[in-house]
């Protein structure tokens, strides 16, 4: 199996898993899905400069072959941005859960425990009774 095939299938599997999770109804899974997608995107961007093994990323008169340094700079930017975004969306969904008492993405008042099959254990209907 070639190097390209491995990287391509890794990206494909990450995206597939990411899309599946991002389409789930609850915020934690959606956040995980977005993280997987952003990993896949970073790999994809990295591969956009072609996959080259064992070559320096800096052009020099002495070397004839070198790997494209620009995608690495792009990936760095993308990683920083997605990292910040992921941190933000985690805090936001946590805050939303605490405020609305539901971790559903569409904010419906579905009691969280009902989903886990523990509906009987807590009598509340998801209304936020915290101060």
């Amino acid at each position: 199996m070639s190097y390209e095939f491995l990287v391509a299938s890794a990206i494909g599997v990450l995206v597939a898993g990411g899309i599946y999770l991002a389409l789930r109804a609850r915020t934690f899974q959606v956040v995980l899905g977005l993280t997987l997608i952003s990993y896949a995107v970073n790999l994809f961007l990295f591969a956009s400069g072609r996959l080259v093994v064992g070559r320096p990323p800096i052009w020099d008169k002495a070397v004839s072959d070198y790997t494209d340094p620009l995608p690495q700079a792009l990936v760095l930017t993308a990683i920083v941005i997605t990292f910040g975004m992921t941190a933000f969306v985690v805090i936001l969904s946590l805050r939303s859960f605490l405020e609305t008492g539901s971790d559903h993405v569409d904010g419906d008042k579905v009691p969280c425990d009902a989903q886990d099959g523990m509906a009987g254990s807590i009598a509340e209907d998801g209304e936020d009774t915290r101060p």
């Binding site: 620009l70 975004m85 609305t100």
Partner: protein, 506 residues
């Protein structure tokens, strides 16, 4: 180099400097923070106007950041379209900021003014940049600021809508990056002008990839512009945002439209092989559906702010009907309508807030409530904003729609465009009339309204927005000539490629 040579980067620098200053002084001396914010917006407006004067004769200012020559470094490009968008942003920002200060919305949470400046930095940068990856970065800057602004004031409704807004935009950013990666792999450049030249040399076996990349990029812009079927995130987000923020957000959907207008002729123009004019077959149907959905939403909206949010979708649809022709005439008409619809949408959001502030528990619901203070004056403002949003005379919406109707008459699908524009105008008029009569004519419930704001000061910002629309209508001759010239310049990518790839290198 003199300061004038650095003109194109000033709209990015000014808010980038103002934001941290505001952040630092806000805790101890809030008045100073307000002064800095207002001064920054005024300076931005002056810079944008200066730039507009400089580019109005057709010159294209290309600014190589750090003097790195064009295809390798990041280049900022100021042409007629960019200058127009900068003036629009700065004017809108002043109106939104004024309303936020008058209604004291900036005190409902931390860092409103600093985030506001960062938002402007992202907007200005997105309008100026000539580099696709830099466009992505400025998109992220404006999105991050917009998340903060959207959630400003907190509350469970905002948090619920906020999660959806953030998730949708994160997915959009991922798609943007994938499209960028593909385009870079195919062309070996990220500079828009350079990419436009190199895209013709993409080998035949890669044409399919090129087409996919182009369609991905266009769908990201469509998501930002809230074009059907990618509009579902908008109504809830805009309707629950702080009204001053929603007024500023009126330009956010236009960023998507702007990117479409900027990137498609430049990169995916005639010579782009399989990707030539790639959105063309889909854009008109999508625009028509957006216009219908938007004005249908105006018709059935349950509150004034929801109605304003749907008016944003409808106006974007109308605007894209003009853009979908990709001819200088229809694009020019579209650009005039773009300026108009942004200000009209902002006015609607601000009037909704003015009403909500006076009706206490009734808020801006489209149902009869008690008589409230200054009902006549507010009703007049609402009527003017509704006239602007639907495009009735005498305000500039009428001229904008007339120009669009006239310009699309030369296109093959003009029957659909005419039918939809005229039909949605009618639906919009009925919808605004229904809500207006419920809120301003009917009275339900005994007693007087809860004590609203005693002053008329909060009528100022929407009145200024409407005043600008009057000016746009009065100066329609000059404005439409400018818009036509901007459209012609955008549709001639060779011109900007020359400016970017030769001048910026020197």
């Amino acid at each position: 180099m003199t300061l004038a040579d650095h003109l194109p980067i000033l709209p990015v620098i000014i808010p980038a400097l103002a934001a941290p200053i505001v952040l630092l002084v806000m805790r101890r001396r809030p008045v100073l923070g307000v002064v800095v914010s207002v001064a920054s917006c005024l300076t931005m407006l002056a810079t944008a106007l200066a730039m507009m004067v400089q580019v109005s004769d057709g010159t294209i200012l290309a600014y190589a950041v750090g003097e790195w020559a064009a295809p390798f470094g990041i280049v900022l490009v100021a042409d007629r379209l960019a200058a127009m968008m900068l003036v629009l942003t700065a004017s809108l920002a002043l109106i939104a900021l004024l309303h936020a200060l008058v209604t004291r919305a900036d005190r409902k949470g931390w860092h409103f003014l600093a985030l506001f400046q960062f938002q402007l930095m992202g907007l200005n940068g997105a309008f100026l940049t000539g580099d696709l990856f830099n466009l992505f970065v400025f998109f992220e800057v404006l999105l991050i600021a917009s998340y903060g602004l959207m959630l400003h004031g907190q509350g469970s409704a905002r948090l619920k809508a906020g999660v959806q807004y953030v998730v949708v935009n994160l997915v959009g950013s991922s798609l943007f990056l994938i499209a960028l990666g593909m385009l870079y792999a195919l062309t070996g450049t990220l500079n828009m002008a350079d990419m436009g030249l190199r895209v013709a040399a993409v080998p035949p076996e890669d044409q399919g990839l090129l087409r996919i990349a182009a369609l991905l990029l266009v769908s990201v812009f469509a998501l930002k512009a809230a074009v059907a079927p990618l509009h579902l995130w908008l109504p809830r987000t805009y309707a629950v945002s702080t009204p001053a923020v929603a007024a500023l957000f009126a330009i956010m959907t236009k960023v998507g439209v702007y990117s479409l207008i900027r990137v498609v002729p430049q990169v995916f123009g005639e010579g782009a092989g399989a990707a030539a004019w790639v959105p063309a077959p889909y854009l008109l149907p999508a625009a028509i559906v957006s216009a219908v959905i938007g004005f249908a939403g105006v018709f059935v909206a349950r509150s004034l702010s929801e109605q304003a949010a749907y008016a944003v979708i409808g106006s974007t649809g109308t605007l894209l009907i003009a853009v979908a022709g990709w001819s200088a005439g229809s694009l020019g008409a579209g650009l005039y309508y773009l300026a108009h619809s942004t200000l009209a949408a902002a006015a609607l959001f601000l009037v909704a807030d003015v009403v909500a502030r006076r009706r206490g528990a009734f808020g801006d619901n489209a149902s009869p409530g008690p008589v409230f203070a200054q009902r006549g004056g507010v009703a007049l403002l609402f009527m003017a904003a509704a006239i602007a949003a639907t495009g009735l005379p005498p305000l500039s919406g009428f001229i904008g729609k007339l120009l669009i109707l006239k310009s699309v008459a030369a296109l093959p699908d003009w029957g659909w465009a005419w039918g939809v524009i005229l039909g949605t105008t009618f639906i919009g008029v009925v919808g605004f009339a229904r809500v207006g009569s419920a809120v301003f004519w009917k009275t339900a419930g005994e007693g007087t309204a809860p004590a609203g704001p005693a002053t008329r000061a909060d009528l100022g910002a929407p009145a200024i927005a409407l005043g600008l629309l009057v000016a746009l209508a009065a100066g329609a001759g000059w404005a439409s000539v400018y818009a036509d010239a901007a459209a012609a310049q955008v549709l001639d990518p060779a011109q900007s490629a020359r400016a970017v790839l030769t001048e910026a290198g020197q």
